[in-house]
Amino acid sequence: MDILINGKKVKTRKGEHVLEVARREGFEIPSLCHHAALPPDGACRLCLVEVEGPEGKNKVTTACTLEVAQGLSVRLDTPEVAANRKVVLEMLLARVSDSPTLLKLADKYGLLEMRLVPQGEKCVLCGLCARVCTELVGAKALTMEGRGTETYFQPPFGEPAKDCVGCGSCAFVCPVTCIEYKKTDRTIEIWGRTFERLACTECGEPLDLTPEHRDLIRRRTDLLTPAEMQLCGGCERRTTMKTMQRVVEGQQTLETARR
C-alpha cells in the first residue's frame, strides 16, 4: 500500500501508522509520547500532520494514531500544522516551563511569545511512564489519578508505589525527565520507595537489580534457575572464562560445560 508524504510516494504495510512510516523514511516529526514498543496513544498532540481530504477539505490530526490507507496523502509542514503545533507547544510550555526538551522544540518550531501563565508543573501528562510500566514491564505500579486539570501520573492513591520493582524504565522513557530516580551504592529511590540493591555474591559489588525486579524477570522465562542472577557482569564473565579454560585444557568437555 502506497501513501504520499509531502508528495513523495512511500511504501507501507497494513496496520502501520503515519508517524512510524514517516520517521522510517527520514521525515522529521516531533513527539513526546510515542514509543516504538508501545501502541500509539495520541497524548502529546505534537506529531500533527495535515491529511488531504476530498474537495480541499483538509484536516489536521496526529500522525501517531493515523493508520495508513490506500490513497492517503499527508503534508507535514503546512501553515495549518505549524500554527496548531505552536499552540500545543505553548500549552505544554505553560505547564512545564523549564524542560530543556520543550524549550528546544519551541526554538525549533518558532514559538516566540508565551501568552499563558506558567503553571510550574514538572510533568506533561504524556502517560508514557504508566504505559511502559503496565504494558511492557508488567509491574502496574503507576496510574492516572484525578481528573481534568487535577490529573497526575503517580502510584495509586499517591502512596509509595506498592507494585514498583525499581527498574527505572519510567524515569528513562520520560520525555521531560521529571521522574526522580536516585541511585546510591546500596539503594534505589523512586516513587517514594527505597529499594535495596542486590549485591554480587562473589565480589560484593552492587547490582543494577532489586529483589523485586529479579522476581519479575524470573517470571518471564523458565531458563533462569535460582542460582542465576546472583553475580555482577564481571564475575559472570570470569566464571565463563574459567569454564572455557577448563575446556581448552581438556579438564572438561564441552558437553559437561553446557548447562
Binding site: A37, C167, R220, E228, L231
Partner: protein, 135 residues
C-alpha cells in the same frame, strides 16, 4: 550460507586488540563505547588469554526476559541485536545473561551486546593470532 563467528581460545594471547577494535567501532558521540568482547589473561602456570564474547545462544535468556522485544535475532548474521528505539533501559537482559555478555555503557548507561558489527566483526578483522575469525 551464513558465516560463522569462530572463537579459538587456544590461539588467544590476551593482547586485547579485540576489545580496542570493538570499543572504537561502537563509538558514542566520538567516544569509544564499552567493548562487547573481553579478553582475560589466565594465571600461571599456563599464561594465555581467553576471549569472552556473546555466544548468540540458540535460546537466549536476554531475549526471553526483554519486555519490549527489543532484542531480536538478525536473520542475516544470526546475532541477537538490540533495537534501541524499543529498549526502555530496564537492564533485565543484563541481569539475565548467565555469561555476563551484556554490558552497560558507562557513557549513556545503555545496555550493549555483541551484534557481530552487522556482518563484519571488527574484532575478527584485527585479531592478530586468528583466535577470532568470521568465515
Amino acid at each position: 550460507m551464513r558465516k560463522i563467528y569462530l572463537v579459538l581460545p587456544e590461539k588467544c594471547t590476551g593482547c586485547r586488540t579485540c576489545e580496542l577494535s570493538c570499543a572504537y567501532s561502537h563509538q558514542i558521540d566520538q567516544q569509544p563505547g564499552t567493548p562487547r568482547i573481553r579478553a582475560y589473561n589466565t594465571k600461571p602456570p599456563l599464561e594465555k588469554g581467553i576471549p569472552v564474547v556473546c555466544f548468540q545462544c540458540d535460546r537466549p535468556a536476554c531475549q526471553e526476559v526483554c519486555p519490549t522485544k527489543a532484542l531480536q535475532r538478525n536473520l542475516d548474521t544470526g546475532a541477537i541485536s538490540i533495537d534501541y528505539d524499543r529498549c526502555i533501559n530496564c537492564h533485565a537482559c543484563y541481569a539475565a545473561c548467565p555469561f555476563g555478555n551484556i554490558h552497560i555503557d558507562p557513557i549513556n548507561t545503555r545496555v550493549a551486546k555483541c551484534d557481530l558489527c552487522g556482518g563484519s566483526p571488527k574484532c575478527a578483522l584485527f585479531c592478530p593470532t586468528g583466535a577470532l575469525s568470521y568465515k
